[in-house]
């Protein structure tokens, strides 16, 4: 009887990880909200990426506008026109790019800052850890919008600046979350045992702390993107976004300024908001589904 070949420890780990992934995916699929969210998100990402194919870029140029002012939907302009005669549908499609881009990039920044601060504050403790914690707490106490408005005014109106502003004002929540997770990991005995075996900080962080923190970060990121997109929309609405780019928020700002509300030009101020709601809702649903899958405590059957 031939013996089955023994697997190396690395192969075993890989196999176990793959099994965990497929189990997680199966569970995610069972969450209807998360699935719907994922589908809707994919749709919007496709629209954003495929914008040049869906609507000609020239449609964004004010000087090349062909339609009348605030025309209702028609055969030629499915969602009517804006105050400059541009097709609202075109604006909507291209606006998706900005909203998604800013949301994702800003989240990247806030995640980076938040993770670094949270890890350091939780893992290293002592004066540095305590100081970072105080800073995080104080940052959380500052109301987001006034600070963002001020920073946006300081830095000036550009795409990069909006990303920076949102990223720099939103990291505190993540930092707090990660810090508490790292603290609970520190409580567990295996860190101490590892250190007794001579493991250095780098090893401990890479092998023990990070793998337990990453799933949490993952779920949190998705929810952060949702908030970032809402923030971008609000800041653009207040006139602080990039004036050269169209985003859903800037469309709403235009609509408000030209009185589309009072003239009842619903095709101008309803669709951008609907898009924002759909995208933010989808990110939220996916984020909640991820939390349910990755956090066993929430799995209540």
């Amino acid at each position: 009887m031939a013996e089955a070949p023994t697997l190396t420890s690395r192969q075993l780990v890989r196999r176990r990880r793959r099994a965990a992934w497929s189990r997680g995916w199966a569970e995610f699929r069972g969450n209807r909200g998360g699935l719907v969210g994922l589908v809707v998100l994919a749709l919007f990402v496709l629209i954003a990426v495929g914008a040049p194919l869906l609507a000609d870029r020239s449609g964004l140029e004010v000087t090349q506008a062909t339609g009348g002012v605030l025309e209702p939907p028609s055969g030629e302009f499915w969602l009517g026109t804006d105050d400059n005669g541009r097709s609202v549908l075109t604006l909507l499609i291209w606006g998706a790019r900005i909203s998604l881009f800013v949301g994702l990039m800003a989240t990247l920044i806030s995640m980076l800052i938040g993770t670094v601060v949270g890890l350091t504050s939780g893992y290293f403790g002592g004066f540095v850890g305590a100081a970072l914690f105080r800073v995080t707490e104080w940052f959380l106490a500052i109301p987001f919008l006034p600070l963002a408005i001020v920073l946006a005014t300081v830095l000036g109106r550009s795409l990069l600046n909006i990303v920076i502003v949102i990223g720099v004002t939103s990291w505190a929540g993540t930092a707090l979350l990660i810090r508490s997770q790292v603290l609970s990991i520190k409580e567990r005995a295996y860190l101490e045992r590892s250190r007794a075996l001579g493991a250095g900080h780098g090893h401990l962080l890479r092998r023990h702390v990070l793998p337990n923190v990453v799933p949490l970060v993952f779920a949190n990121t998705t929810l952060c993107v949702a908030v970032a997109i809402l923030s971008e929309t609000t800041l653009s609405f207040l006139g602080l976004g990039d004036p050269t780019r169209v985003s859903w928020g800037s469309m709403l700002d235009d609509a408000y300024s030209v009185g589309a509300i009072t003239t009842g030009s619903w095709w101008f101020f309803v669709p951008p908001g609907v898009c924002v709601v759909l995208v933010v809702l989808s990110f939220t649903l996916v984020g909640q589904a991820l939390e349910a899958v990755l956090n066993p405590k929430l799995r209540k059957r």
Binding site: P143, P146, G273, V276
Partner: protein
């Protein structure tokens, strides 16, 4: 294995050790929280001051358009407002004045900042206050009902509505409400004013004036209530769902309590704890809502003030508003912490 008779000495020793831990718990807890808040406030003052000095634009140039053309006139302007002094000197002056309640002088409105703030404070408080109270009451009730009957039709409807409202920019909801209820849709006429706090001819002191104010505030309050409500409902539901499987609820049921009693006397008080914490963390959202909703409804409160002051930029006014907003958030956080300490005896020891 034989059973040992209860040792009276051991019993009283056990009992005594617990006794020392009681008493004065809440006082110490509250004191610690207040100190923490003061620290946050101090940090806020520093950030506040230096942040606005970094703003671009020169007040002299902006306000003195056409009038202050010569350097001497500009210098005189700067001297009057203390803008020519070194930064740290200005900060020290600021602190000294703060202690006396002097928040500076508004370049834009030519009045004391503290006066302007007081004037503009009450519309914001009225708006945000009523919206918060309404949203908290309704939201918590919705969350309890949905969380207790998880998966039911009510739950699914309530939760999906909450999620949708939560994903909406609150000001966009306001715009929709204006379009629907102020401007009117199709044949339906608008019922509410599109903005402002009072009608031009209304005297706010009289009863009809008060009713007029309420009429003006209906849509803004409705907007904010719906926006805040979603947050409360979702959080409360989540907290209650977490409690539902707990052992102490089985004990309560075993005692013969009815389902509603189990929910109200045992589950909800425990579920309120995480709710309080999360709601406290979300206070920044309350402030943001106030700013945007005031803007679209033209309510003359602190939110609209911020936008106006930014154009100059009117340093002292901006500082004052920011300070007030931050202080408000810190205070609200302190309040939430104190409430939490009162609800949960475990944090007091």
């Amino acid at each position: 294995m034989s059973t040992v008779a209860a040792d009276p000495a051991a019993v009283s020793a056990e009992a005594g050790s617990g006794r020392r831990r009681r008493g004065g718990g809440y006082g110490r807890y509250a004191g610690a929280k207040v100190l923490g808040s003061l620290g946050s406030l101090a940090f806020m003052l520093v950030v506040n001051f230096f942040l606005f000095r970094v703003l671009p634009g020169d007040p002299a140039r902006t306000l003195g358009r056409g009038r202050l053309s010569t350097p001497e006139q500009v210098a005189e302007f700067n001297a009057t407002y203390g803008l020519d002094q070194p930064m740290l000197q200005q900060f020290w002056t600021f602190l000294k004045n703060l202690v006396h309640g002097d928040l500076g002088y508004s370049i834009l409105y030519h009045r004391d900042v503290s006066e302007i703030l007081l004037d503009r404070l009450w519309p914001t408080l009225l708006l945000v206050g009523s919206a918060t109270v309404l949203a908290a009451t309704l939201g918590v009730w919705l969350g309890i009902r949905a969380g207790w009957a998880r998966g039911s039709t009510f739950d699914r409807f309530s939760t999906s509505t909450s999620l949708t409202l939560y994903s909406m920019p609150e000001w966009w909801l306001g715009l929709l409400l204006i379009a629907a209820l102020s401007v009117g849709v199709g044949p339906l006429p608008g019922l509410f004013p599109t903005g402002g706090l009072h009608s031009v001819d209304a005297d706010p002191g009289t009863l009809s004036g008060v009713l007029d104010t309420i009429w003006h505030l209906t849509l803004p309050v409705l907007t904010l209530t719906l926006a805040y409500l979603a947050d409360y409902a979702l959080i409360m539901r989540g907290s209650l769902v977490d409690e539902v499987g707990s052992d102490y609820l089985t004990t309560a049921r075993a005692k013969g309590l009815r389902d509603v009693q189990v929910r109200g006397r045992h589950a909800v008080p425990n579920a309120l704890l995480p709710t309080t914490t999360v709601v406290a963390l979300n206070f920044g959202f309350v402030v943001a809502g106030a700013i945007t909703v005031e803007t679209i409804f033209s309510i003359p409160g602190l939110g609209l003030l911020t936008t106006d002051a930014l154009a100059v930029p009117d340093y002292w006014l901006l500082q004052g508003v920011f300070l007030l907003a931050s202080a408000g958030v810190i205070l609200a956080n302190l309040g939430a912490n104190l409430i939490y300490g009162w609800l949960d005896p475990r944090v007091r020891t």
